[in-house]
């Protein structure tokens, strides 16, 4: 917290004196080849908990593959793939408690699945149907925020949500995530700057996947890390290997518990890599060397964690076959459910505009209703 302005004394005999310093740490438990970089935390040595992380990661990857296939065959609109970044969503999903609030960007599907969003909702959203953001009552996702397409503008909402929690004396936490490019925007800075002013229970997560569409991370900032961008707001920032699901969950849980205990906001930069194009409307070959992508596959979060589970004796070839078969079947049945989604009534565009449609707009709704279904899809 900035104290009322005082100008510090300098060191005796010296014209200049050091007034602040900082360090940025990176956390990793699993090396890219799956060997241990350090002794893992308890949840990763518990067979069931450890397997659950892997299963969600793989199920998300199979869903993602299906979604891209649907788009490529003209059955889904533009879709933002999560290939290569699955570990971060899985970690968020396991680190947050049910009562916490998740404010996502648009690639953290695994976290949303963990919090109760049915897979079909994600397809409906990218398929152009608002009902894809109607997350079911009775699940944690019901009080979560929807995907946010505009970059960084959702991040300062965390300030209001966390302030409301604090005002009501609730021990809840907000996790707001974005990509590396979002940290270039003023909205993001205004949020990070304000969070510490009220010591709010927020974790800002930056998915640094190397690219903001066609611009590499180093063209977003001249800073050595994105983690240090929190320091200007008085927030501790740290890096985590975002392709190490153990480390990412561990670091997020630690930051979340700090927030829950009244120790205020944190910033976590998760280092990962976007193995897919930005969206299905993008062609990354225009700006990104193929070799870079090939090399990045060596750091794939799924491969790495599978090697760890196998080494622990937590995972067998039969487990793998069963998971792939089940995950593929679920992705397929989800696709079928999506394709069979009954269209909304045309006049549904007037629903949820206001709590009650103003009288002056009733004629527009009635005109649409009388006109009936229109062409196109």
């Amino acid at each position: 917290m900035v104290e009322p302005l005082t100008i510090p004394d300098t060191s005796p005999g010296s014209a200049t004196t050091k007034v602040a310093s900082y360090d940025i740490y990176l956390t990793r438990f699993l090396n890219p080849d799956g060997t241990l970089a350090a002794e893992p935390p308890a949840f990763a040595t518990d067979r069931e908990q450890a397997r659950a992380l892997y299963e969600l990661m793989v199920r998300t990857r199979l869903f993602d593959k299906k979604a891209v296939a649907l788009q490529r065959t003209g059955q889904l609109g533009t879709y933002a793939a999560v290939l290569g970044q699955e570990a971060i969503g899985v970690a968020i999903g396991h680190a947050l408690k049910a009562e916490d609030v998740f404010i996502p960007a648009y690639r953290e599907y695994a976290a949303q699945f963990a919090r109760g969003v049915p897979m079909v909702r994600i397809l409906q959203y990218w398929g152009g149907d608002e009902r894809g953001m109607d997350y079911p009552a009775g699940t944690p996702s019901h009080h979560d925020f929807p995907l946010s397409v505009p970059i960084a503008t959702h991040i300062p909402h965390a300030i209001g949500v966390a302030y409301a929690m604090k005002l009501r004396g609730e021990k809840r936490v907000v996790l707001a995530s974005c990509g590396d490019g979002a940290t270039s925007k003023g909205d993001w800075y205004e949020a990070v700057s304000a969070a510490k002013v009220w010591n709010l229970p927020i974790v800002f997560l930056v998915n640094n996947n190397g690219w903001a569409i066609s611009m590499p991370s180093h063209r977003q900032t001249g800073a050595q890390t994105f983690a240090q961008k929190g320091l200007a707001g008085g927030i501790s920032g740290e890096q985590v290997d975002g392709n190490d699901v153990i480390a990412t969950r561990f670091v997020l849980e630690r930051a979340i518990e700090r927030a829950r205990n009244g120790e205020g906001p944190s910033l976590v930069e998760a280092l990962t890599y976007r193995l897919h194009d930005h969206t299905t409307a993008d062609d990354a070959r225009r700006y990104r060397p193929e070799q870079e992508v090939t090399d990045a596959w060596d750091r794939c979060p799924v491969k790495r964690y599978k090697a760890y589970l196998e080494a622990r004796g937590f995972w067998t070839a039969a487990d793998e076959d069963a998971l792939i078969a089940d995950g593929t079947a679920i992705a397929e049945s989800t696709a079928q459910e999506f394709l069979k989604t009954a269209p909304q009534a045309p006049e549904a565009i007037f629903e949820h505009l206001y709590e009650r449609l103003p009288k002056s707009l009733e004629w527009q709704r009635d005109e649409v209703a009388a006109r009936g279904p229109v062409g196109g899809h």
């Binding site: 953001m133 997350y135 209001g160 005002l167 709590e355 103003p358």
Partner: protein, 328 residues
């Protein structure tokens, strides 16, 4: 019953609702100890404390976004932006989120919030302090845009805005803040939104306006009365959604209409009213509908602001044209 200025009525409405509802908060720049640059929040910090009277960092996007976040949690956030010229950093938040969360989540998350801002010119303020932003916001679906024209309407409409389940932009005309007083009793009774007010009944011409220009419009009606012309004055009050029924009914009675607006003429809200009259009221009109509006210029600095802002003479000139074409 106390006689209050508009700024005192605004203050009373917030204090009154904060007493009734512990989940109403106010936020903005310099609104706490300082009581707001116009003193709209005077005394609120002492009565309700710093948790509910929130002095924010100097960041307008944050103020709007924080109000959105608060309101999604059911906290009724009443945000103040110091001057309407500083509302622009809020536009992205309002149009992409405040007006859309209800729709984007199928009603799961809603934004019962108010952004209050002083609006319009005439008080010799510095650059960027005198703009009229109502049309900018009135064009956004899912929003309510309200502008009071008197202390009693400021009190009743602000109460209604705070209680409204959807986002409201509440534009307070700075030059009416302390121009005149009215008896305002703290009854806790809101005035209706989404409806025009018949400010004065008349038979010969309908004068339509809102916010600051209502004052000059009333003066014109006085002048016309001296000449034996009976003007009906309609205060639009809620610009969005627009209650055209009241205006059409009035014009059906008078057959003549002049619309008075301080915001720039082209594509302004006066044009929206005129277009609706052309579609639905043409056959009841004796003469063309005339607009009196701000010029399509940058809002001038203080020395020239009176050149820009419509006044009694400019309104009267358009009224004369109407009566030249269609004498009483």
């Amino acid at each position: 019953m106390p006689n209050l200025t508009m700024i005192e009525a605004v203050n009373l409405a917030m204090a009154s609702e904060m007493r009734r509802d512990a989940e109403v908060v106010v936020l903005g720049e310099d609104i706490g100890r300082n009581g707001g640059v116009f003193r709209a929040t005077l005394g609120l910090l002492d009565e309700f404390g710093p948790d509910r009277v929130i002095d924010t960092p100097l960041a307008e996007t944050l103020v709007a976004a924080m109000a959105i976040g608060l309101s999604t949690q059911g906290i009724k956030a009443v945000a103040e932006i110091q001057f309407s010229g500083f509302l622009y950093p809020c536009v992205d938040q309002v149009v992409n989120h405040a007006t859309r969360y209800r729709n984007r989540t199928r009603g799961r998350l809603t934004c019962p919030m108010v952004i209050r801002a002083p609006n319009s010119g005439g008080i010799h303020a510095p650059e960027h302090h005198s703009e009229s932003l109502e049309t900018t916001f009135a064009h956004m679906p899912g929003l309510r845009v309200v502008s009071p024209s008197s202390p009693t309407r400021a009190y009743g409409l602000l109460l209604a805005a705070i209680r409204d389940p959807d986002p409201v932009i509440f534009l307070e005309p700075t030059r009416l803040y302390r121009l005149f007083k009215q008896p305002v009793e703290d009854t806790g009774e809101a005035l209706p939104l989404d409806t025009c007010f018949i400010d004065r009944e008349g038979t010969d011409i309908t004068l339509v306006s809102w916010g600051a220009m209502m004052h000059d419009t009333r003066l014109v009606a006085d002048r016309l009365a001296e000449e034996g012309i009976s003007a009906e004055v309609v205060d639009i009050a809620t610009l969005k959604p627009l209650d055209m029924d009241t205006i059409l009914e009035s014009v059906a009675k008078t057959g003549r209409c002049v619309i008075v607006s301080e915001s720039p003429r082209a594509g302004g809200w006066a044009s929206e009213v005129a277009a609706n009259l052309a579609e639905h009221g043409l056959l009841t009109l004796f003469a063309p509908v005339m607009r009196v509006a701000g010029y399509d210029t940058v809002m001038p600095l203080a020395k020239q602001e009176r050149v820009y802002i419509p006044d009694v003479d400019r309104i009267l000139r358009e009224v004369r044209k109407v009566f030249d074409i269609a004498p009483k």
